[in-house]
């Protein structure tokens, strides 16, 4: 019996008016190559992410964010956040 594990981003979704990039990270445990456990953690990359924080994302997420988080989306999201005080 040999336990191994890997961490993969197994789901990346673009959702909503502001192209939020939802990332699900799976921690998968294998017993002799057979998956025996899969647990999830999630984070979301918003259009207002800083350049430093974006650099810490995976290459794939960076590419998606650079494609969908246009200047127009960033501006619209910033305007939206500023209008959300109840």
């Amino acid at each position: 019996m040999a336990l191994t594990e890997e961490t993969i981003q197994d789901k990346i979704e673009i959702v909503g008016d502001y192209k939020m990039v939802q990332v699900r990270t799976a921690r998968v445990i294998y017993d002799s190559g057979t998956e025996i456990s899969r647990s999830f953690s999630r984070h979301v990359v918003a259009p207002n992410i800083s350049a430093d924080d974006l650099a810490n994302e995976s290459t794939e997420v960076q590419a998606i964010c650079n494609a969908v988080h246009t200047d127009a989306i960033k501006t619209a999201y910033a305007t939206h956040l500023a209008s959300q005080e109840i």
Binding site: D17, M20, S39, S41, R42, V44, A46, L81, Q84, E85
Partner: protein
């Protein structure tokens, strides 16, 4: 294992059917030469003493009706990382979520070590984007080490976002303040929120 070759198996007594103790279908599986009769709303899947074990669906299930509002297509549990942005550091960042359909229940317990450039009045990092219709009110069950003279502290998740703004009251009988500047070094908040995602 012996092989019995037959053309047709028929019931011995009309209406009694044919009982088979264990069947394995191989190669071509089963071919039905006449339609399978299905009756609406009469057949149970399993019973209280003869339950199935696990159910694996690549789609969803209609519960209590057959409309889109009855369709449950997602369930997921996991973790997330509450934060205040900037260069803040933490001594604890615990987040758990359960997603049922389009509804998210998110719990968190966050203790800030050094706030730095982090927000004093917002919590970020919620695990799913909140729908862009109306804010979702959360509750804070415990807080300590906050900067204001806080009598009451709560928060709401912003529309179309994964951020939440703090609200609170800082004087006896006072009115509630929005984006309450509360966080500082050593502040701890523990709370939960239920909200709809897109």
């Amino acid at each position: 294992m012996s092989t019995l070759t037959v053309g047709t198996i028929s019931e011995k007594v009309s209406g009694a059917g044919v009982a088979v103790d264990g069947v394995t279908l191989k190669d071509g599986g089963a071919n039905f030469t006449s339609a399978i009769t299905a009756t609406d709303n009469t057949v149970d899947l399993g019973a209280s003493s003869t339950r199935f074990k696990d159910l694996y669906l690549s789609g969803g299930a209609y519960l209590g009706g057959t409309g889109s509002a009855n369709y449950l297509d997602d369930y997921e549990e996991g973790t997330w990382t509450p934060n205040v942005g900037g260069n803040a550091t933490y001594t604890a960042q615990l987040g758990r979520y359960t997603k049922i359909g389009n509804h998210v229940l998110a719990q968190f317990d966050m203790t800030i070590n050094v706030l730095g450039t982090g927000s004093t009045g917002a919590i970020s990092g919620f695990p799913f984007t909140h729908e862009n219709i109306m804010v979702a009110s959360g509750s804070i069950s415990y807080f300590s080490g906050v900067s204001s003279n806080v009598y009451y502290l709560s928060f709401y998740v912003i529309n179309g976002s994964t951020d939440a703004y703090l609200t609170g009251i800082t004087s006896a009988g006072g009115t509630i303040s929005n984006i309450l500047a509360t966080f500082q070094n050593g502040a701890r908040v523990n709370g939960m929120v239920s909200y709809r995602t897109t």
